[in-house]
Structure formats: C-alpha cells, structure tokens
C-alpha cells in the first residue's frame, strides 16, 4: 500500500478560533493526506506527544493568539527532545516577516500568513516530504 502523508493539525494557544485550521485540514484531506486533528487549546507537550504517537511527517500549527514566538520554539524543542528530527514543523497565523525569519533560523519551516491559499500550503508540504522523507519506509535510523 502506498505511503500516505500524515499531518498533525493543531491549534495552539488560548484563542478559540479553529475555522482556519479546519479549512486547512479539509483541504489536506482533499489532497489525499491523512490529517490528525486534535482541536483547540493544545499545549506544546500535547502536540509533541501526539506527533510521536501518530508518527506524522508534518506538524502544522495554527496560532492566532500572538504567542507564536514562544509556542513554535517550545514545540520544536519538545519534538527534538523526543527524537522527531525528521518531522517538519510549519504553520500559520498573523506573523510578521521578521518573526517568520527568526523562527526559520531556529529550524521551523516556512510559515503562512492569513492571505496564504490552502494550495500553497499543500504544495509546500508535498514538496518537503518528497525532498526529506521520500523512499523512507519509516524504519528507525
């Protein structure tokens, strides 16, 4: 059976809007991805544990609360602590260009602003997986 791209879509932080996250999740489903959706108010610990258990290729975080400069680095740290070095952390929110650049320097992937199309996000994820995890069967390295 063909390998499926698995993506964890999570809402981190205190804001209570998951419309955007849900739109992205269904677009990804329509693109043939398996999307694990965990709902609102996810802490970094919850996100990292779900990423481990679900063995996802990609973690996509939606952060609208403005706390992205603390949440993204924290999630990334916890992912690395758990050995998820080959998993993409990406996401979106209202994030300035400077913040995006700073987060990318830490190892976070491309981030998407409110104007981004779901198509762009999907293309990015597909491209990243093809480049970084192609041919991989999932065995420990």
């Amino acid at each position: 059976m063909a390998r499926k791209i698995r993506v964890l879509v999570a809402k981190a932080g205190l804001d209570g809007h998951d419309r955007g996250a849900k739109v992205v999740a269904s677009a990804m489903r329509d693109a043939g991805f398996e999307v694990i959706y965990t709902g609102l108010h996810q802490t970094p610990e919850m996100i990292a544990q779900a990423a481990v258990q679900e063995d996802v290729d990609v973690v996509a975080l939606s952060i609208l609360s403005g706390a992205h400069m603390t949440l993204f680095p924290r999630v990334l740290d916890l992912m690395r602590e758990r050995g998820l070095n080959d998993v993409l952390l990406t996401g979106g929110g209202i994030i300035s260009k400077e913040d995006m650049g700073a987060l990318q320097k830490l190892g976070v992937g491309t981030l998407f602003g409110p104007g981004a199309t779901t198509g762009a996000i999907i293309d990015y994820v597909r491209g990243w997986v093809a480049e970084h995890r192609a041919g991989e069967v999932g065995t420990a390295k």
Binding site: A2, K4, T38, E45, Q49, G138, A140
Partner: protein, 331 residues
C-alpha cells in the same frame, strides 16, 4: 516473502524499543504495518507472544453517538486503576481522494500527556479488506509496548465495524436516544455484533423509549445471549462503573474453559487465514501485473469501449485462466 531480510538490524532495534516501551518505536512500527512495508511482518513475528495479550474492546456506533468521549472516560477509569491503555481510533478514508480527517483525539485530550496511554488514529484506507488484519496487528504492537487494555473505536456505518469486531474480544455498540430512526437500518448489522450495548446520552429525552425499543428487539434472542444494556452519560461520567462491570462479566464469560479454547482457536485461524489471503492476493496480483492491466482496461472504460462491470468480469476470467496455467506449471 522474505520480510525483514533487508534490514534485520533495524527490525531488531525497533522490536527491542517497543518491548522497552518506547512510544516512538511503537509509532514507527505501526506506520510500517499500515503501509504494509516489508519489515512489518518480521517485526510482528519477533514480538509475537513476548508479552501477554491485552483484552481488546471495540466501541462502535453511529456518527456522533459519543464513542470517543466514552472511550476517553473509560480510559480514565482504567488509568485510575493503574492500567496502561492503548487506543486505536479508526476513521474512514475518503473514497474520492484517499485522504482522511482523523478527529477522535479531540475528545481524548485529557490523556494527551499521559505516557501510559498510547492513542493512534488509523484511516480505513480503501475497501480491499485488510482492516481487520491491520487492526489486529496494531493491537499486537500495543501488547508488546505494554498495553493492558486496548480500546478500539470505529464508526458503525458500513464494513469497518465488522472488521474491528473480528479483531477485538468484546464489541460495545453505542447508541443514543436519537438513534431511533437510524437503528432500523443499523439494527441488523450492529445489533448482531453487540456484546454490550451502551445507551449513551441517557440525559436526552427519549432514553426510556429507546431502552424499551432495544429490549424489545433483543427479546427474540435466547436468554443468556442477550447483550446487557448499560445507560451512560459520557460527558457527565455517569454509567462508567456499570460499563466496566459489564465488560468484566463478558470477559469472565469468555474465559470459561468451554469458550476460551474454541474461541482462541477460531481467532488464531482467522488470523492465519487473513494473513494468507492478503499475502496470496498481493503476490498473485503483482505477478499478474495487475496494476498495468488495470491501466489498460481503465483507458478502455474511459474511452467508452466497455463498462467497468464488463471489464472486471473479463479481467477476472482472464486472470483465473492464467492463474490455473501458472499453478499447473508450478513446482
């Protein structure tokens, strides 16, 4: 298949990691099983029987009946007893896109940082059978990790609940007072596999009427083979002890010597049968160059030269004829 011959060291380290309780190794092995990767068989093989098999409880019922909420609450009860819990949440794959949204974790957030609870979401991925086998294999991996009770959720609207019932020891069917209309349609399939019936959302009006209707529909069954009905309000944590008791009783009934032997035998048989069926079907279709043939025939159908049904019939005929010849020449 010479599974695992490619990377015995990787297989061994995954297996060791799982037995040590490493969640990442477990998750990776689950992916291998889901992708039917060649290593999967070797991993399962090397883990088989290494730890006791956890009782497997399947939870099924109509969409929105409260399955995830109930699974989460039952897991909480088990955790309070110190039990390590595995959860597999099955959701349908879209037949059009091959994608899926697996959303059951939303209701299981209270366990999201408990490392004695391992939750895995699984998509049904196509209809070519195999779900029962895959579910059983994920349960075996959970056993090796240390699960002491494994809970499997699946929505009961088609085939998947039957597959899951095959892979579990006890099937809980969850209905609600609102299931009234749906139940007519669901009754046949769902009620047949129910070993415990949960009437969830018992806080809603119509619970009494629903329970009466359920009892009436069970009245035809011989005494002793009627599944117990447990009322719950999953969101208010009501009825969980009763559910626990009903599951315990069912497990005790299963443990009776006159049942445990034959049932175990039937399970092992089913397990071997499905492994053989999948292996055979895969190997055989591959040898027949099925995907290529399929491409050609698909073109014919799209061009209007034939219909899917006629094409399938012709393919089956051709392939079984070829199959006989191959068998005849085989050694």
């Amino acid at each position: 298949m010479s599974a695992g011959a490619e990377a015995p060291a990787a297989v061994a380290s995954l297996a060791e990691g799982i037995l040590r309780g490493d969640p990442r190794m477990l998750a990776r092995a689950m992916t291998l099983v889901e992708n039917a990767a060649p290593e999967a068989e070797a991993i399962l093989e090397s883990l088989y029987g290494k730890k006791p098999a956890a009782p497997r409880v399947g939870f099924t019922g109509p969409p929105g009946a409260g399955k995830s909420t109930l699974v989460a609450e039952y897991a909480r009860l088990l955790r309070a007893e110190g039990v390590q819990v595995g959860v597999i949440a099955v959701d349908p794959t879209s037949p059009f896109t091959g994608g899926a949204i697996l959303g059951d974790r939303v209701r299981m957030n209270e366990h999201a940082t408990d490392d004695k609870v391992f939750i895995r979401s699984m998509a049904t991925r196509g209809s070519l059978g195999g779900l029962a086998a895959r579910t059983g294999e994920l349960c075996e991996l959970l056993d090796a990790w240390g699960s002491e009770v494994t809970l499997v959720e699946t929505v009961g609207v088609g085939q998947s609940e039957l597959d899951v019932a095959e892979a579990t020891d006890t099937t809980v069917v969850i209905l609600t007072p609102e299931s009234g209309d749906a139940i007519q349609a669901l009754k046949a399939g769902l009620m047949e596999i129910a070993e415990v019936i949960v009437l969830n959302k018992a806080d809603h009006v119509g619970a009494d009427a629903m329970e009466a209707a359920l009892r009436a529909s069970l009245a035809f069954r011989p005494e002793g083979s009627r599944p117990p009905i447990v009322r719950t309000v999953a969101t208010a944590r009501q009825g969980l002890d009763e559910l626990h008791q009903a599951l315990r009783e069912h497990r005790e009934a299963l443990a009776k010597p006159e049942i445990v032997g034959p049932r175990r035998r039937e399970k092992v048989r089913a397990r071997i049968r499905s492994a053989v069926r999948e292996g055979l079907l895969d190997a055989w279709l591959r040898r027949q160059g099925f995907e290529d043939v399929l491409d050609g025939v698909t073109d014919d159908v799209i061009a209007g030269r034939t219909s899917p049904y006629r094409a399938a019939r012709a393919l089956i005929e051709r392939m079984t004829r070829d199959g006989k010849r191959t068998n005849g020449n085989g050694n």
